[in-house]
């Protein structure tokens, strides 16, 4: 299968899932879970570009989600900006911060890079948590509405907030997948992916390693930021936890679990890590134990992640 058909097939599969999943929803609560999955999937897709394509690691990407979320909380109050502009502003600030911080940080390799990005994420979290006069501190703050629902009501269309966010986040996820898939087989994408296997070889064919790493870092920061903005606008409320270390780890786990270099894998990983805790509440105390066990088993037996490993098996069993 060549690049074009993988791209089309992935986009089609995602579109069908987004369109048909509501048929199975017993209550409107599931629209909310669906929206959360799509939003997390978007952030994980950004990490596919950074981790899966370029082979760099980040333990602080929730920090960029935090910037995106608080841009939507602070922008309307302090700058009088409409929410949509705030999403763009958050993305721009995240991208700029990634650009400025990325240059010195991305010189580091493997676990040093992991610790440096971890520090960056914690720094953003601390600023949000401690500057209570601006951000409301640990109590969080309310976020103005996107205003789409009142607009729809004007046309006589009534939807619940969860339903509306299901469709918005679904469309944004599709757009994110489109961009990430375009990149995969493009000239810039090949340059990124060459870093994954050998930085030395990449440099001898003229690839500016530092510049391409920075590009991947900025792209993934923008993805995380837009995801954070969506969470804030959907919940109409935001707390510093959106930028917390645990959320960074969750995002990275979703990416690796689904298959670090797979766009579809990001959505599969997000689905498992978002939906499973809801299902596992039946087991109460054992919820985290079971989640940890599932992750360990996948990493031991399907090391490339769910989607690439299963795709390989299917290809092998096909005649």
């Amino acid at each position: 299968m060549n690049g074009i058909s993988v791209r089309t097939a992935t986009l089609l599969a995602l579109a069908v899932i987004i369109l048909l999943a509501p048929v199975l929803f017993p209550s409107s609560f599931y629209y909310r879970v669906g929206a959360l999955i799509f939003i997390n999937g978007l952030a994980a897709m950004g990490l596919v570009v950074l981790v899966g394509y370029a082979g760099q690691v980040s333990l602080g990407h929730a920090g960029f989600s935090g910037i995106g979320a608080y841009a939507c909380a602070l922008g309307p109050v302090h700058l009088g900006l409409p929410p949509l502009v705030c999403v763009a502003l958050g993305a721009a600030v995240s991208g700029l911060l990634a650009f400025l911080v990325g240059r010195p940080i991305l010189r580091l390799k493997a676990h040093y890079l992991a610790v440096a990005t971890l520090g960056l994420g914690i720094l953003i979290y601390m600023v949000i948590n401690n500057e209570g006069w601006l951000t409301g501190g640990p109590d969080g703050m309310t976020v103005p509405s996107l205003g789409v629902r009142s607009l729809l009501k004007g046309y006589g269309i009534k939807v619940t907030s969860s339903e509306m966010w299901y469709w918005i986040s679904g469309v944004v996820l599709l757009a994110g997948a489109f961009v990430a898939l375009n990149l995969h087989n493009s000239p810039a994408g090949r340059a990124l992916r060459s870093l994954h296997d050998s930085e030395v070889a990449a440099s001898t064919i003229g690839i500016d390693v530092a510049r391409m790493k920075l590009t991947a870092f900025v792209i993934s920061a923008v993805y995380a930021s837009v995801a954070g903005s969506q969470v804030a606008l959907m919940n109409r409320f935001v707390t510093p936890d959106v930028a917390g270390f645990m959320h960074s780890v969750e995002l990275l786990t979703m990416t690796v679990l689904g298959g670090a270099a797979s766009v579809l894998g990001a959505v599969v990983g997000a689905t498992i890590l978002t939906a499973l805790p809801q299902v596992l509440t039946v087991f109460e105390d054992f919820e985290h134990v079971l989640l940890g066990l599932i992750m360990m088993l996948v990493m031991i037996f399907l090391r490339e992640g769910l989607v690439p490993s299963l795709a390989r098996r299917m290809r092998r069993s096909a005649p």
Binding site: V179, S186, P187, A188, V200, S203, I205, G206, A261
Partner: protein, 262 residues
């Protein structure tokens, strides 16, 4: 005309001299080989010329320009590319994509165009694909173009690296032991391939263990031992140089001495 000029090039690692001070030149369209026993400093010399190590002393001139200490990705833009002794193929790409990656300099970096999948992105992809297929035909890998690079045999991977390096359209190609680990048939194929490439006007600097390959195709041979150049000249002259024979085989007297003391 000289394309590469190396003058008194040397490097120390923590007080230990790996390469003392080596000088030689590569003429336009010429095949020059650097030979020597294990640990002679051949690959270290290569890493200095290709910008991976920063030399402690000496100068490297490419087409009259001083390129000492210039980063390797800039050297590629100036017309120098290389292959590696221990393969550095992009394992997660197909064979074709590996060679297409070598077209990075021609393609340029247009991130936004590529992210949005605009026509410019597709056009550059098509051009790169066409050129990459041509290079794969040149090295005889066109039939495996769509396979994962990790599925290829060792000899095929060596040829893939050559194709990827050629995709940068180099004036000077550095080949680090292209025949190492290859069987007799593969060695002969690579031998012919190197001559073909030189025939298109690309100058070649070769590090090689396989003396037969070196003697057959190179116009000029530089012999290194223990970080120093010990001989230089036409292949047949070098082969009969007593210092070269000593470096490779050891002298009888030395052998006897060792015997006596042991």
């Amino acid at each position: 005309m000289t394309i590469l000029e190396v003058e008194g090039l040397g490097i120390d690692f923590g007080g230990l001299t790996a390469v003392g001070g080596v000088s030689f030149g590569v003429g336009s369209g010429e095949i020059v080989s650097v030979i020597g026993p294990n640990g002679a400093g051949k690959t270290t010399l290569f890493n200095m010329i290709s910008g991976i190590y920063r030399p402690s002393r000496g100068r490297i001139m490419l087409e009259g320009r001083d390129i000492t200490g210039v980063a390797s990705h800039k050297l590629a833009a100036m017309g120098m590319s290389r292959t590696f002794q221990n393969l550095m193929v992009f394992q997660q790409m197909t064979v074709l994509q590996n060679v297409m990656a070598g077209r990075h300099l021609t393609e340029g970096v247009h991130v936004l165009t590529d992210l949005l999948g605009l026509p410019g992105s597709w056009r550059r992809n098509r051009e790169s694909e066409r050129e990459a297929m041509r290079l794969l035909e040149l090295v005889g890998l066109e039939r495996g173009a769509w396979r994962e690079a990790s599925e290829l045999s060792y000899g095929a991977l060596k040829r893939l690296e050559i194709a990827r390096a050629l995709a940068t359209q180099p004036k000077l190609l550095l080949l680090d032991e292209p025949a190492a680990g290859c069987n007799a048939v593969e060695t002969q194929e690579i031998d012919g391939l190197i001559s073909d490439i030189a025939g298109t006007g690309v100058s070649i600097l070769l590090v090689e263990h396989d003396m037969k390959l070196v003697m057959k195709i190179s116009g000029h041979v530089v012999v290194m031992d223990q970080g120093e150049k010990i001989s230089e000249g036409r292949p047949e002259a070098v082969a009969h140089d007593p210092r070269v024979i000593e470096a490779y085989l050891g002298t009888e007297a030395e052998g006897a001495k060792e015997h006596a003391s042991g």
